[in-house]
Amino acid sequence: MSTTESPPPESTEARTELHDWDAVQSSPEFQRLRSRLRNFVFPVTGLFLVWYLLYVLLASYAPGFMSVKVLGNINIGLIFGLLQIVSTFAITTWYVRWADRTIDPLSQELRDEMGDGK
C-alpha cells in the first residue's frame, strides 16, 4: 500500500503517470461520450424531479382534486402515486437500455485506446 496523497486507487498509480488526462479529455471521442451522457441524464433528471414535485405539490395544495374518486375507492391521488412508481420503473429501464447501447461502447473504446481494455 502506498500513500493516498493522490487519492486514486494505489494499484493504478504507476499507470496514472502514463495517461495524458488533458489530451484524453479534449479528444473528440471523449467529448462525444461526455456530451451524450450529459444530454441524457440532465434533462431526464429535470423531468422526473418536476413530475415528482408536481405530485408533492398537488398532494399538499390540491387535496380536493387528488381526492376525486375514479374507480370505487381508488382516487386520483392514489393513481398519481402509483404512476410515480410506474414512471420510476420506466425511466430505469429506458436509461439502462440507452446506457448499454450508447455509453458502454464509447467508454470501452476509450479504455482500449488508453490500454486499459477489460
Binding site: 488533458d22 433528471t45 381526492s67 448499454d100
Partner: protein
C-alpha cells in the same frame, strides 16, 4: 409506555427462538464467507469489489429497506393513510438520482469512501475531514432510528416492558451486529443484507397476497374496509392531507419532507459505499436497477399492508399497542397467521435492524479509519495503511457501543421520522458536494467545505430549534407533547423537516464558497477525474469470490 404489555397472542419464547435461529444461520454464513478473507483494507471495506450487480442490488435493498420502511411506513399508512404513502414514493423516486447522476461515476472515481470522491481534486485533509464528519453525522441519525426501532420491537414482541430489560435486548442486538462487522467485514455484512432482503421481501409478499386474497384481490374493497374501520376520520385516510394538510405550515412541511426524501438517498454514505463492492460501473448500474425493482415492489406491498392493518386491525388497536404506529405490521401478521406468522415477521424485523445497523457501522468505521486516521492524522503515510483496518475495527466497536447507548436513550421515538432527518442531513451536506465535484469544473476546496459544514450546521440547527425537539402542543389524550423534550419550548423554526431551507442553502453555499475563493484546483486534476469517472479507466479489477 413502559407499562405496555406485549401484543396479545404473541409468544415471546417462540419469537426469541426464531430470531436466534436467524442469528445462528447468518453468523454461520458470515464465518463461512470470511474464511478466504485477506487482511487488506479493500477486503474489509468493499469485499474487494467482487460482488455482482444483482447480488449488490439485493444487498442495497437490504441496506435501504430499514425498519423505518417496514414498520414505520406500514404504520404511517395505517394511521395517516395517504400521507404515509408519500414516504414510499419519495424513497423510491430518489433512486433515479442515484442511478442517473451518481452510482456509476462514483464507482469509477473512488475506492472506499465518499471522501475518496469529494477529495479527489481538492486539498486532501480538510475535505476528507469534512466528508468523514458528515458521514458520521448521517450514520448517527440513521443508527439512532434503527436502534430506537429495536427498543419498540422488544416491547412489542418479547413482552418486555421494563426499560432496563429492553436495554439489555438492545445491547444484545448491538453486540451481534458488532460480531458481524468484525468477523465478516463488508463481505459478511453484504451476505447478511442479502439474506435479510430476501426474507423481508418474501415476508411482505406473503402478507400482501394474504390480505388481498381476503378481499378477493379487490384493492378498492380493502380501502373501503379501512375507511369503515377508521370511523369518523376514516374517509380522510384515502385523501392527502390527513397528517400534513391542517395548516399552511404543515403543508410546507410536507413539501420539505418530499424534497429531503428525493434528494437524500444519493447522499447516504452507507448506500454510496455499496457501489464500491462491485467491480465496474456497469455492475453498479445493474445493482441500482435490481435495487429499484425490489424497493419499488416492496413499497407496493407496504401500501397494501398499511391499509390492510387499518382494515383488519383498526387504527384504535394500533394506537393502543406498545410501539404505536410501528406495531401496525406485526399486529397485522398476528391477525393473519397467528402466533407463528407474528414470530416470523418479528424475527424479520429484527434481522432488518441488524443488517442495516451493520451496514451503517462498517461505513462509519471505514470513513473514520480511511479518511480521518489514514489521510488526516497520518497524512497518508505508507506505514499507516497497515494500521488502517485495525483502526476501522476499533471504530466499529466504538460505534456499536454508541449505537447501543443511543438506542436505549432514543427508545420510543418515531423511527420513520428519525430516518427523514438523516435524509435531510444527507441531502443538504452531501448531495450538493457530490454533484458539484462530479460535474462542475470550477468547484474547489472552499466550496466543498462551505457546502458540507454549512449544510450540516444549518440542518442540525434547524432541527434543534424545530417543533420536533420542543414546543409541540400537549396531546390531551396522552398528556404528553409530541416533541422530544417535554415542558420546554425554544423552537423558532416552524417546520419539522428542514430540507426546504437547508438543501437550497447548501447548494448556494457550495457555489458561493467556490466563486469567492481564489484557489485554483490542481491543473489536470479535473481532466483526470472526468476521464476516470466516465470511462472507468484504472478501476481495480475485482478479486473473484
Amino acid at each position: 409506555m413502559t407499562l405496555a404489555a406485549g401484543i396479545e397472542g404473541s409468544n415471546p419464547i417462540l419469537n426469541i427462538v426464531i430470531f436466534g435461529v436467524f442469528v445462528a444461520i447468518t453468523l454461520g454464513i458470515v464465518i463461512y464467507v470470511s474464511r478466504r478473507r485477506t487482511a487488506g483494507a479493500a477486503d474489509f471495506y468493499t469485499a474487494g469489489g467482487g460482488f455482482s450487480g444483482p447480488q449488490n442490488g439485493i444487498a442495497i435493498s437490504g441496506d435501504y429497506l430499514s425498519a423505518a420502511s417496514f414498520l414505520g411506513i406500514a404504520g404511517a399508512i395505517a394511521l395517516n393513510g395517504y400521507d404515509g404513502f408519500l414516504y414510499s414514493i419519495g424513497f423510491l423516486v430518489a433512486w433515479l438520482v442515484a442511478l442517473l447522476l451518481v452510482a456509476e461515476l462514483l464507482r469509477n472515481t473512488g475506492k472506499f469512501t465518499m471522501g475518496d470522491v469529494l477529495a479527489f481534486r481538492m486539498r486532501q485533509r480538510p475535505v476528507r475531514a469534512a466528508a468523514a464528519t458528515s458521514t458520521l453525522a448521517v450514520s448517527f441519525f440513521y443508527l439512532l432510528a434503527q436502534m430506537a426501532g429495536a427498543g419498540g420491537l422488544v416491547a412489542l414482541l418479547l413482552d418486555i416492558s421494563d426499560k432496563t430489560q429492553q436495554g439489555i435486548v438492545i445491547a444484545v442486538v448491538g453486540v451481534v451486529m458488532i460480531a458481524y462487522v468484525l468477523i465478516g467485514g463488508m463481505r459478511g455484512t453484504t451476505w447478511v443484507q442479502i439474506i435479510k432482503a430476501v426474507l423481508l421481501i418474501a415476508g411482505a409478499a406473503v402478507m400482501t397476497v394474504w390480505v388481498m386474497a381476503l378481499y378477493g384481490f379487490n384493492f378498492s374493497a380493502l380501502l373501503g374496509d379501512a375507511v369503515a374501520k377508521g370511523g369518523a376520520a376514516g374517509e380522510a385516510l384515502l385523501n392527502p392531507g390527513k397528517q400534513y394538510g391542517k395548516t399552511g405550515v404543515s403543508k410546507l412541511d410536507f413539501v420539505s419532507l418530499g424534497l429531503a426524501l428525493v434528494l437524500g438517498t444519493a447522499g447516504l454514505p452507507h448506500i454510496l459505499m455499496r457501489f464500491y463492492t462491485v467491480p465496474t460501473a456497469k455492475e453498479a448500474r445493474r445493482s441500482v436497477v435490481w435495487a429499484i425493482w425490489l424497493i419499488g415492489l416492496f413499497y407496493l406491498f407496504t401500501l397494501v399492508l398499511g391499509y390492510g392493518a387499518g382494515a383488519l386491525v383498526g387504527p384504535d388497536a394500533i394506537k393502543k399497542a406498545p410501539g404505536g404506529a410501528n406495531s401496525a405490521a406485526p399486529l397485522l401478521a398476528y391477525q393473519l397467521g397467528g402466533t407463528l406468522l407474528l414470530g416470523i415477521i418479528a424475527a424479520v424485523a429484527f434481522a432488518t435492524i441488524l443488517a442495516v445497523v451493520a451496514g451503517l457501522t462498517i461505513t462509519a468505521s471505514a470513513s473514520f479509519a480511511h479518511d480521518i486516521y489514514l489521510n488526516v492524522i497520518k497524512k497518508g503515510e505508507p506505514g499507516a495503511a497497515n494500521e488502517e483496518v485495525k483502526v476501522a475495527r476499533i471504530t466499529a466497536v466504538v460505534i456499536g457501543i454508541v449505537a447501543i447507548v443511543g438506542g436505549i436513550l432514543a427508545n420510543g421515538q418515531n423511527i420513520a421520522f428519525l430516518v427523514a432527518l438523516a435524509f435531510a442531513v444527507a441531502a443538504s451536506a452531501n448531495l450538493p458536494t457530490i454533484l458539484y465535484s462530479l460535474f462542475w469544473k470550477r468547484f474547489n476546496t472552499q466550496g466543498a467545505l462551505w457546502s458540507i459544514y454549512g449544510g450540516l450546521a444549518i440542518t442540525i440547527v434547524l432541527i434543534v430549534f424545530s417543533p420536533v425537539v420542543s414546543g409541540k402542543p400537549v396531546d390531551a389524550a396522552t398528556g404528553k407533547s409530541a416533541s422530544m423534550l417535554q415542558g420546554v419550548d425554544f423552537h423558532w423554526f416552524p417546520l419539522d423537516n428542514p430540507g426546504l431551507v437547508s438543501i437550497p442553502l447548501s447548494f448556494l453555499l457550495g457555489y458561493l464558497g467556490t466563486v469567492l475563493s481564489k484557489e485554483k484546483p490542481p491543473a489536470g486534476k479535473f481532466a483526470e477525474m472526468e476521464v476516470r469517472s466516465l470511462t472507468g479507466v484504472g478501476v481495480e479489477k475485482a478479486v473473484s469470490h
